[in-house]
């Protein structure tokens, strides 16, 4: 049994329910199992994580603002989940592969994806924003939990190819009820696939509390599939980083899949179309605000002698620049050309669709500007 194996199977016994390295108050808590996985995270590295999370939060709030101003159709905020996404994604290698849901803007950011490429899909200007092979990250998945099987299949292939790269499936607490996630756990265990199931338990599946999906901690469910489960404070970027490194180490050594439950909280609505006031209390939100993932890192940095005000000023400049770039990107997002509706349906010519395309081109050509016909009575 490797050290990572022992840890993965031992963390469930933590007395307070999950592993934690930084308390909400910003105190560094020693952990005999996890400390050794983050010895390289010095003050400078911690500053980097603080910066990542702060800039990300600003980008996310810009997404909301752009939706409110009608520039984007919908935006699913990640507010509150910055540590879960940054901590896990920072553990990855560039040749690992991420299969995310629709809320992993933070993971995308860490993978080097331009936020504008995330945004253009929510604007409805494109069906996807980036080439998955350029960033080691699949296009986002809206069908709940479907990507967990894709990650498992990718991992099976990596193992068969003799690679030590790993796949990570990101999904939420609600997704654990879907058949696909359960089937993915079966396959991953059966084939000892190098995949990390990274579950962000953010407390809510739209209006449904996690208690409706499971009567026990989600990490415990993995045990029944023969997959080790780790439960970690998802608002603690250091603990998340450590736990993900443990899981990746197991995967690379041939130890198979690991399930990580990162206990976090969706502080905003499910999407900009949702109104969480209908189903949860202000007290609950306040309780989670006190466990904010970013401020605890700030407090820890300040306690270690770093001038937090200077850091905050630097980060603010960077965050403002990133938000400004995202906003400016809208101006460059031309609406797609009408005939592109037919693009990429097939990789090879398809006689029926080719004919349909020709006929529609003739139809559009009747109108002066080639497009004005498709306005009356159609979508608004």
């Amino acid at each position: 049994m490797t050290p990572s194996d022992r840890i993965a199977t031992g963390l469930l016994t933590r007395p307070d329910g999950f592993a934690q390295l930084i308390t909400p108050e910003g105190e560094r808590r020693a952990d005999p199992d996890l400390d050794r996985w983050v010895v390289d995270i010095d003050t400078e590295a911690l500053r980097g994580l603080y910066r990542d999370m702060s800039v990300l939060r600003r980008i996310d709030s810009e997404g909301i603002a752009l939706q409110r101003q009608g520039e984007v159709g919908l935006w699913p905020p990640l507010l509150g989940q910055e540590a879960a996404q940054v901590g896990s994604a920072r553990a990855l290698r560039s040749d690992d592969f991420v299969f995310g849901s629709y809320r992993e803007h933070g993971v995308a950011w860490v993978r080097g994806i331009d936020p504008a490429d995330v945004l253009r899909v929510w604007r409805g200007a494109a069906s996807s924003g980036w080439n998955p092979y350029d960033y080691g990250m699949a296009v986002p998945q809206i069908i709940i939990g479907a990507q967990s099987l894709h990650a498992t299949g990718w991992a099976m292939g990596a193992k068969w190819d003799g690679s030590d790269a790993a796949a990570v499936a990101y999904f939420g607490d609600g997704a654990t009820s879907e058949g696909d996630v359960n089937e993915a756990l079966v396959f991953a265990a059966s084939f000892e696939a190098p995949v990390v199931f990274f579950c962000q338990n953010n407390g809510w599946a739209i209006s449904e509390p996690v208690g409706l999906q499971s009567k026990q901690p989600l990490a415990q469910r993995a045990d029944g599939f023969g997959v080790p489960g780790i439960r970690v404070d998802g608002n603690d970027v250091l603990a998340v980083l450590a736990a993900t490194r443990v899981a990746l180490d197991r995967a690379r050594r041939g130890g198979g899949p690991t399930f990580i439950e990162a206990v976090t909280y969706r502080m905003g609505p499910h999407t900009t179309a949702d109104d969480p006031k209908r189903y949860r209390t202000d007290d609950e939100l306040a309780d989670w605000r006190a466990r904010d993932p970013i401020s605890r890192v700030g407090a820890l940095l300040a306690a270690s002698g770093l001038d937090l005000e200077t850091l905050e000023r630097e980060v603010e400049v960077e965050a403002a620049r990133a938000a400004g770039e995202l906003r400016a990107s809208i101006a460059t997002m031309a609406d797609p050309e009408p005939m592109t509706v037919f693009d990429h349906v097939y990789a090879e010519p398809h006689s029926h669709l080719d004919r349909q395309r020709e006929q529609y081109a003739r139809y559009l050509a009747q109108f002066d500007d080639g497009a004005s016909g498709a306005t009356e009575g159609g979508a608004r």
Binding site: G73, L74, Y102, V121, W122, R123, G124, A125, A126, S127, I142, I143, I144, G145, G174, A175, S177, E178, G179, D180, A205, I206, S207, E208, L212, Q213, A273, D274, R278, Y279, D335, P336, P338, M339, T340, V341, F342, V345, H352, L353, Q356, Q359, Y360, R362, Y363, L364, A365, Q366, A371, G373, A374, T375, E376, G377, G378, A379, R380
Partner: protein, 336 residues
């Protein structure tokens, strides 16, 4: 009579079904406390309790599969699939179980399950939120498939679907949820038009334009526009997609001699193909022109900024009418 939105009419119909039959239970994701993402079940949990209006775990196969078990015990489950494109994890339970159990049990086990599906596009939504999957279900023996187009029909048809001893796929035109209409909320279901019968919603003499769901209003608008050019369009709201009320369509086509079918779903092997073939069989000697289909393209539903180039709209319907009439149209001079 009272004025309700289409969504409000479904809510009122659900309320009446819950009140009239204590074996009716509603199940789905976010339908209880939240009242559904479209608020179609708003207030029903508060009124009837969490055991009648049930928030379920996130599993479409789970929702439909447990509805089968409840039906075995004599319940009448009414399940909500949150969006059209989310139905596929439940597809196996619908096609392999819900559709077949009455037959498999030699008529001893009834499956009076209503599966409510907000369907279709036109709301600028994200992927999987604008689909028209009705033909998959109309193709499946054992299922009834209906779609309402206005508040009055929505109120009556949801109750008829729930009262039916057969499983019913109930497709709700989501872009029409907020459109108001007059509803006779005291009408007796016994006197109502059966849900399997189509409606002639605009009378006409030159062309029969057949559609359902959200396109019904656009077809009516097309008829109004065509009338200004002296073309008389008869608009038929199919209401039922399985069975198809081909008798009503055939009666119309025998008078007009011309048929146009419109739907948001793709053309290939869609409802339009079935209707065109069936009406050609029944009315061959009456047809003055080949039936015309105006449909969504055979593509995955496009991003929001492109959906107006996908959905049949008024101009495309009129172009199809011109084709049926042999007037100049976008395919003039093109071999069929």
């Amino acid at each position: 009579m009272t004025t309700l939105t289409l969504g409000g009419a479904i809510n009122a119909g659900l309320r009446r079904s819950l009140a009239n039959d204590d074996r009716v239970v509603l199940m789905g994701e976010d339908i209880g406390t939240l009242g559904g993402v479209f608020r179609i079940t708003d207030g029903l949990k508060a009124e009837f309790g969490a055991h009648r209006v049930v928030d379920t775990p996130l599993s479409e196969a789970g929702i439909i599969g447990t509805a089968v078990g409840l039906a075995y015990r004599g319940y009448r489950p009414v399940v909500e699939i949150q969006f059209d494109g989310f139905i596929y994890p439940g597809f196996d339970q619908i096609v392999a179980q819900v559709a077949k159990l009455h037959r498999r049990s030699r008529g001893t086990v009834k499956m009076p399950i209503t599966i409510r599906v907000p369907f279709g596009g036109g709301i600028g939504a994200a992927e999987h939120h604008s689909e028209s999957p009705e033909a998959y279900f109309a193709h499946t023996a054992g299922l009834r498939v209906v779609s309402c187009s206005d508040a009055a029909d929505a109120y009556v048809m949801i109750q008829q679907a729930i009262a039916s001893d057969d499983p019913v796929l109930f497709f709700e035109p989501k872009r029409r949820y907020h459109v108001k209409g007059e509803v006779d909320d005291r009408a007796s279901l016994a006197d109502a038009k059966p849900m399997g019968i189509a409606s002639v919603v605009t009378s006409g003499t030159d062309v029969t334009l057949v559609t359902y769901g959200a396109l019904v209003q656009i077809a009516r608008d097309a008829a109004t526009a065509a009338a200004e050019e002296g073309v008389s369009i008869e608009v038929i709201d199919l209401r039922s997609l399985s069975p198809l009320d081909l008798g009503t369509v055939a009666d119309s086509v025998r008078r007009t001699g011309r048929l146009v079918i419109a739907h948001e779903a793709g053309q290939q092997l869609g409802l339009g193909a079935e209707i065109a073939a069936s009406i050609t069989e029944r009315c061959f000697e009456y047809l003055e022109a080949a039936p015309v289909r105006i449909t969504g393209h055979d593509i995955p539903y496009p991003p929001a900024k492109l959906e107006r180039y996908h959905l049949p709209d008024l101009d495309r319907m009129l172009d199809g009418v011109d084709r049926a009439l042999g007037r100049p149209n976008s395919l003039s001079g093109v071999e069929a």
